[in-house]
């Protein structure tokens, strides 16, 4: 038996690290246990071919709040930026347009004006949502003053949007992005840009109800930083490394290659964890940044839980349908009608909302998209260390791939890889000849590689029934659990996925409040 810690954090993803850092700052002795060889989880690097490095999951930083960066002193802990304020270029076989710095190039004046108008409105809603995302959501139906006050403030903030905006917010919040985009915009590429923001990493096509909510959530995350789409020097993993440094500077001990076998409970209280190798580590509190299903069903075990609660865990929707592709290129590719200066942009390959919706259809029937839509970066343009000299890395978020494929995983993987390459070839003729190595990570691969059940980018769908005070589900929202001393701090908790650090930060705040 080793020493007893105040807090053990399971998982050294960005949320786990931030939660650990904050608790250590508040005086806890904190141990972070990471199953993998490196920190970062979904935001780690992967050498997929000799000399080529790609971010395993998230390949852009765009929702990490400036305030949190300052608080954590990430630059002091080694974080440097290779690129900031990246523009977005939407490409189809027929054309392209570029959105960035409040400008839209490539659309007609009427559409540009409509876009600005819509963006301004969405920004107001996003700021409202951001204010809610920055607080621990209240529990409903309790007599607690804290909960009631928090609910009241939420209502007040909504009212403060003003009568017109409040009504408009309530009108669009439950809508699908397809309707919103086609109501407001005429240009198919602009529509597609809006649609892509709503569906990336989620389990929806643009016609699914609730996709305006996912769009607003994404923009809410983006509203807390002035840096826009950014890539750190050394790739997204550098953000995770800086977070680990910050945590260690605050006194946190981080152990990698230390997979947890189970959470140890005595008399309805957490007393520590058991590692796979048999070591038992004592702690008064365990905070899990692992997805809720794995936390409760695998690490804790249903014998400590009530059946109704287990039902809710079991019903939590967390099957990913988003894949990730990494290509090693022997030279910079050229895209149809795109200037070389645009190649460093965030590139969206999507010709229309219908294109996205058709790509989505496949995932409903256990298949992979025949003509997938993609978000692409070529990070080696900004950071030459990611690829051998003169060569390049292309990373693409590829939508969609069913979690449970009708064909074998290998067949589905090969098929989506070849479909994605064909889709690339259509906008960047000749790119296939540039590919010297490549890989496709299906959701099942991401589940295995990143230890996220379902391989879901956000640890679970962001939908109205898995949102805010009911995320991930009643009884485990507010970063708590039925077991004393067991808390959640991962993307499965409010406000959800993305490189925001908010679940980790809010969990730490909640734990401190309940401890005092």
């Amino acid at each position: 038996m080793s020493r007893a810690w105040d807090t053990i954090v399971i998982g050294a993803g960005h949320n786990g690290l931030i939660c650990a850092q904050q608790l250590a700052n508040a005086g806890h002795s904190v141990l972070v246990l990471e199953a993998g060889a490196t920190v970062g989880g979904f935001a780690a690097n992967r050498a997929f071919a000799p000399g080529f490095h790609a971010a395993v999951g998230a390949h852009l930083v765009h929702q990490f709040s400036d305030k949190l960066s300052r608080t954590l002193e990430l630059e002091r802990h080694g974080l440097r930026w290779a690129a900031r304020q990246l523009a977005t270029t939407v490409i189809s076989a027929d054309g392209q347009l570029r959105i960035g710095g409040g400008q839209v190039d490539g659309a007609n004046a009427k559409d540009v004006a409509a876009w600005r108008h819509l963006a301004a409105r969405l920004n107001r809603f996003s700021r409202f949502l951001a204010s809610i995302n920055a607080t621990c959501p209240p529990r409903l139906g309790t007599a607690s003053f804290e909960d009631r006050w928090s609910l009241l403030k939420m209502g007040l903030r909504l009212r403060l949007l003003g009568k017109r905006d409040m009504r408009e917010f309530l009108r669009v919040a439950g809508m699908n992005v397809y309707d919103l985009a086609t109501d407001e915009l005429a240009d198919p590429l602009l529509q597609a840009a809006l649609g892509m923001d709503a569906i990336l990493g989620s389990n929806f096509g643009p016609r699914a109800p609730g996709t305006v909510l996912t769009l607003l959530s994404r923009r809410a995350g983006e509203s807390v930083t002035r840096s826009g789409y950014s890539i750190p020097m050394g790739g997204v993993a550098s953000l995770s490394n800086a977070l680990a440094m910050a945590a260690q500077a605050a006194g946190v001990t981080v152990r990698t290659d230390a997979p947890v076998a189970g959470i140890v409970v005595d008399n309805d209280r957490v007393v520590g964890v058991d590692l796979i190798d048999g070591e038992r580590i004592s702690a008064t509190r365990v905070v899990s940044s692992v997805d809720p299903r794995q936390t409760f069903l695998s690490l804790l075990g249903t014998q400590y839980l009530d059946t109704g609660f287990v039902r809710r865990v079991d019903h939590f929707r967390q099957r990913g349908i988003t894949a990730k592709m990494h290509l090693a290129l022997d030279a910079l590719p050229s895209f149809n009608g795109i200037q070389s200066t645009q190649l460093g942009d965030r590139l969206l390959v999507a010709s229309s909302l219908d294109h996205i919706e058709r790509a989505f259809n496949a995932s409903k029937y256990g298949e992979v998209s025949a003509n997938p839509v993609m978000e692409i970066t070529i990070p080696s343009l900004h950071d030459a260390t990611l690829a051998p000299k003169g060569q390049h890395v292309l990373t693409a978020i590829v939508n969609y791939a069913a979690f449970e494929t009708r064909d074998s995983l290998g067949t589905a993987r090969d098929r989506l890889f070849s479909n994605a390459l064909s889709a690339l070839e259509a906008v960047a003729p000749g790119i296939s000849q540039r590919v010297v190595a490549g890989e496709m990570l299906l959701p099942a691969d991401l589940e295995r590689e990143c230890r996220i059940t379902g391989g879901h980018w956000h640890h679970g769908d962001l939908a109205f029934d898995q949102f805010m005070m009911v995320r991930p589900f009643p009884g485990a929202a507010q970063y708590d659990s039925p077991i004393q001393g067991l808390h959640l701090c991962g993307a499965g908790s409010h406000p959800g996925g993305g490189l925001t650090g908010l679940p980790g930060q809010l969990a730490a705040e909640r734990i401190q409040r309940s401890a005092s």
Partner: protein, 404 residues
């Protein structure tokens, strides 16, 4: 985790109720066609008269067709752990060959159903329930290595109850059956037929329950009736049994409490503590469904409780509202089951009373309505909170029972 349904073909929609394996005999003995549906089967409510059947329970021997009672087989390495997490009692203490009366709760500590658990081996159990529970059991099985199978139609069951029931079974040829202690069961073999006999029942009297293969059902029925003839054996229906169970202080689901799965209105659910079943709740065992909620309720104190009451006079207090004082506008409770007990010569009832009126010895008043030749009459009658059961003869526990 695996499961199976035991119905080879579902009942036809033109005849939605199934016949039990004893149906032919029940049909023949029924004098007034009083049948009622029970868990998907046609069963007898009254064969002749309730009085005749009730007195047979207390003075002779009775046969009651128990087949519709829902039965599950629970097996597997985690069967004990699964059941221990499911019910409020400590299943680890249940030895092979014993039966345990149990209740199970939802997360809020509210009762979903009650039933009995039979332990056949360390990893083989039978759970008998009032209502179908497969959905709840399967969700409760997540994370446990256990197989759950409904076997209701694979097992025909008879309840043989009454002071002469042990004699009848001995005459039937079950050697050593008199050595069975209450809540014990054993396998017997008689005339080439396997039969499991448990000393259990719903009457609070000496009695046994017999579990057999459906194809043996009619033969066993006929033989029991034949050997029991000199001991006054008769078939009984649900109404007579209901009277016996009230005297025994047993609870009837959907009469004395409503399953938490069925309640719609607030505060209609009941916890075991509220039903006076605190003795079934073991807080010292590992976690079980509803434990946290029940601990909270235990420390906060009960707002209401089900108790027995003894009412003055002889008018059954069916559905009566109860008042602390006859002049009160606001009731302090209500009756769930009531009867004039011919054996106890007492006017008894089960009632839910608000705190603090449920303490034993408290006096309350029952507002009794009597329907007499189309005219409603009303009586406000004093009643006393008393201990349950109302009727508990020594023969219910005596082993071996008297040989008569």
């Amino acid at each position: 985790m695996t499961t199976g349904s035991d119905y080879p073909s579902p009942p036809h929609f033109r005849k939605p109720l199934l016949d039990t394996p004893f149906h032919d005999r029940a049909r023949a003995l029924s004098q007034n066609d009083q049948f009622v549906p029970w868990s998907g089967y046609t069963t007898v409510d009254v064969f002749t008269t309730v009085e005749q059947e009730y007195f047979a329970i207390r003075n002779a021997a009775t046969l009651y067709d128990l087949t519709p009672m829902v039965k599950y087989r629970v097996t597997g390495a985690d069967a004990e752990r699964f059941l221990n997490r499911l019910v409020t009692r400590d299943v680890r203490k249940l030895r092979v060959g014993r039966v345990s009366y149990v209740v199970w709760c939802n997360d809020d500590g509210h009762i979903i159903d009650d039933g009995t658990i039979f332990r056949f081996s360390p990893e083989d159990f039978r759970v008998c329930t009032a209502e179908r529970q497969l959905d709840w059991f399967l969700d409760s099985a997540i994370g446990f290595d256990v197989a759950i199978e409904e076997i209701t139609s694979q097992v025909a069951a008879l309840s043989l109850q009454g002071p002469t029931s042990a004699y009848v079974l001995k005459r039937f040829g079950l050697e050593g059956v008199e050595q069975l202690k209450p809540f014990e069961f054993r396998e017997f073999r008689s005339a080439g037929r396997d039969m499991m006999v448990s000393r259990t029942g719903f009457t609070g009297d000496l009695g046994y329950e017999l579990w057999m293969r459906p194809e043996h059902a009619l033969g066993i029925w006929d033989e029991l009736m034949a050997v029991g003839r000199t001991r006054g054996i008769r078939a009984i229906g649900s109404q007579a049994l209901n009277l016996a169970r009230i005297e025994a202080g047993f609870l009837m689901p959907n009469v004395d409490f409503v399953s938490a799965e069925h309640t719609i209105r607030m505060h209609r659910e009941r916890t075991p503590l509220e039903l006076g079943l605190g003795w079934l709740v073991d807080f010292d065992k590992p976690h079980f469904n509803g434990r946290r909620a029940l601990l909270r309720q235990k420390s906060a104190g009960l707002k209401r409780m089900l108790v027995g009451i003894d009412i003055d006079g002889n008018k059954p207090a069916h559905n009566a509202l109860l008042y602390a004082s006859p002049k009160d506008e606001q009731e302090c409770g209500f009756v769930t089951s009531a009867m004039w007990s011919p054996t106890c010569k007492r006017n008894i009832a089960l009632a839910i009373l608000d705190a603090p009126h449920f303490d034993a010895g408290r006096r309350v008043h029952a507002d009794i309505y009597l329907h007499r030749e189309l005219v409603w009459e009303r009586r406000m009658v004093a009643a006393t909170v008393v201990e349950r059961p109302f009727f508990a003869p020594d023969r219910r526990r005596m082993t071996p029972p008297a040989d008569r």
